[in-house]
Symmetry: C4
Subunit: 275 residues, 4 copies
């Protein structure tokens, strides 16, 4: 029965292992080449916008981009062909990104300038997390993710407060400083308030009047406390989500089964049995 398989079927099976698998050498190599091409592709789109570079190597960049795009297109088609339920892949997060990654180049035939959106391929770099399947790495990833999700509720409330604050602060500064000092409108003043509260501080707009500088000082010191809030939330979440004593650092008593002994404990703290 196995021998009855058509050449096509055999090809599809092999392609599936190479494209979706990470355990065979061919599969791993494919993933690495893919990641390298994604990186190269993103670099090319980026360099295309650098004038000096583009003038010198324009045709070279274009050719490379098309080669990579065609490779990605073939890869996309193969991914659909070699999977059992194509719909699951097509409408998955990675599937959509894979599609969006190749569209801009083809669109650039009809609308010039769309090739720049090929930079969206950068999102394909997230695929690294699929390729790296090391347990310790996954643990880190999971812990990061869980902590951030657990913090989400408080962070949203916090940002809502910050937004209301910036509206009030921005309006006050618009009235105090006025258009002649760069605070040309309330939205611009709110932009300034965000730049200040987040301690970015471009300096494109900065208070000039004494009263404005006084209020700004107040806002900055307030921002001190404010920047501490999300940090506090996330720190607490990180500290909570992880086991305080790692398993590898504790001993279990073979006599009574009690655990959580220090790694250099010599006797069980519950029954006195030698560890």
């Amino acid at each position: 029965m196995q021998n009855n398989k058509s050449t096509y079927q055999k090809f599809i099976e092999k392609a599936h292992v190479i494209i979706y698998g990470t355990n065979t050498i061919a599969g791993r190599l494919f993933d690495l080449i893919l990641l390298g091409l994604i990186l190269l592709s993103v670099l090319l789109v980026m360099l295309e916008t650098v004038k000096d570079f583009n003038q010198k190597y324009h045709s070279f960049i274009i050719v490379c981009e098309w080669i990579i795009t065609i490779f990605f297109t073939i890869e996309y088609i193969l991914r659909i062909l070699t999977i059992k339920r194509p719909k699951n892949y097509i409408f998955s997060f990675y599937g959509l990104i894979d599609l969006i990654s190749i569209l801009p180049m083809y669109l650039s035939f009809f609308i010039s300038g769309t090739s720049i959106f090929a930079v969206i391929r950068a999102l394909r770099l997230l695929r690294l997390f699929k390729i790296l399947n090391h347990p310790q790495f996954n643990n880190h990833s999971k812990h990061l993710k869980e902590s951030l999700i657990a913090s989400k509720g408080k962070i949203v409330i916090f940002i809502y407060f910050v937004m209301i604050s910036t509206i009030i602060i921005g309006s006050v500064m618009y009235v105090v400083e006025g258009e002649e000092n760069g605070f040309t409108s309330i939205p611009t003043s709110i932009y300034w308030a965000i730049v200040t509260l987040t301690t970015v501080g471009y300096g494109d707009i900065s208070p000039v009047t004494p009263l404005g500088q006084f209020i700004a000082s107040f806002v900055m010191i307030m921002g001190y406390g404010i920047i501490a809030v999300p940090t506090g939330i996330i720190s607490a979440e990180f500290a909570k989500n992880r086991p305080i004593i790692k398993e590898s650092e504790t001993k279990v008593c073979s006599n009574c089964g009690s655990h959580e002994h220090y790694i250099n404990a010599k006797f069980c703290q519950d029954c006195g049995h030698a560890l």
Copy 2:
């Protein structure tokens, strides 16, 4: 007796449910419309200050603002009429904000330019917290609030120290850099010190002399440690206020089902049953 109620009484009762309640569909809808109108109103005041936009749509903005203001006025009056103890509402935090939100527009009849203060309506957005009555959300809110209140004492001491520091640093920089380098007065220099210590760093004033840059470097590295203090305070508070006992470390009572016992508890803390 119920039937004897006047139409007015019935109306007031119904209005009370709609305005103050959040459990009926009508009440929920009212809250959502109210929140939308507040947002729209704040946006309008903001856009009024954007020159290009204001020139094109001036009359449209004014009409909208008046419609919303009249709606808010009716809502304010109804809130007073439909509550049992109007004074409690009028002098409550939300009551005062509701009043201040409608005043600027009426004041603009007498004093031109006051309509801008209608931006204070942004504070009405805090009402969202009354509308969202979800238990998990309230938990987050409460935890945030408690942690910040618990941190208050230390934060005040900390800010007092920072203020004294900025006075000393500002004065030193005024002497070192002098008026020709932008440090025109001690208050301005203090403003610079705050801009620097909070790591905002506009760059509108920055040290020019080697000695000034040396002192500034010192201040910035100091600011490193300083910014860590409020973060540390609030982080510790967040970590403390939440139960640090993980599920895997707690026991559940087989008798009453209560959980969160210490891992080495031998009896249930709720029913006294042996664990």
Copy 3:
């Protein structure tokens, strides 16, 4: 014998109570007036450097400053006279600040311009901590102080590393960017490195060449991690130094004396006795 006391002795005793004590009404009032005068005095020195203000009120400021200086001088002499061991006070932290606070004004007779150093009086504001003797406040103060002292060792090592890093980064940027882009010397480049690593970012000096911007990006992302280190150190210290479960939140078993029960525990977790 008590009656034999000379008027001078009685005066000294009374003065001691008023100046050093904080429990009598007169003592408390004296402290408050003193703090107010210190604040006023610091404000005056600051305002003296504001040109517009100084031109208008110059003589007024000078007179006020002299009145306050004379008051401080009398206070200083009385503090010495009314204390048992004057040397202890004179060479204490507060004693030295009190002396330095009055010297600049008298020095301004001989050397003009020294009156500005009277701003050192801002340090006298630290006296607030002596006046506020509330136990909860002292607790906060102590906790802050202990946590910072405990963090000191690690912070020093950390700053030493940061300094070596800034020397290397500064030198690299001096070579890469060169004098024509504002990196005029290695010390200036080190100043830039500190401005960047601490995320202050004035923008008075910023990289212009692509390579410089690439290195700067790397430094900034490094600075991300680096700013986290002192925060982490101090957060951990804060979290450690405070009792994780407050005494008021735990119950002690009256039967077996075991403690650390949740506040709403009804039975002892060690002996099952009703709490």
Copy 4:
């Protein structure tokens, strides 16, 4: 036998004690002088780049640098001669730095301008950690190191995400703001994105269009949350790595004096004696 040692051997032995040892007075003195010379040497290279200073003292600086370089060369040769396994030293971290520290000066004979790389000597300042051999200091050092190493995995994942984010944000801003507003290419825009996300905010490039400012505001508030992540990771690691058991919560064994037993331990973990 001891007397049979040649003068050379005696010299080598003595030199070994002085150069590598830190327990004799001579050894300690040597280390201090060495550290002082390293500092002086770094300062000289730095000052050489300051124009005014270099013009005045050029020949003096050069002479000093050569004296120090020759001293360092002799020290390097002696370190090789006086150690049992020279290869271990030569290819160790410190050995390589010691070599690299003296090379630039000799290279400056052949290639002018290389003397500036002598600033790499700053790395020799790390030797301080070898000299300071105090146990408490080593503890701090070790704790810092372990916490940072433990955080490494999560920090790398985090930076990978940040890099993908900056590519996307940078590209969007390049399209939105365009070359006329300073976003001359995608790499430049990515540089801007990093400057903004890390809250450095030079202001050399800043958004001008309303849409650009809106996106920038969004990025900054995102940066708020983002800066909290590495802080949270490292804080949690610091808190975890240190013993969280307070003295008041531990028992001391009356038999062997070992401490740090859990409060409810019943037997000593070191000698098995009943507590």
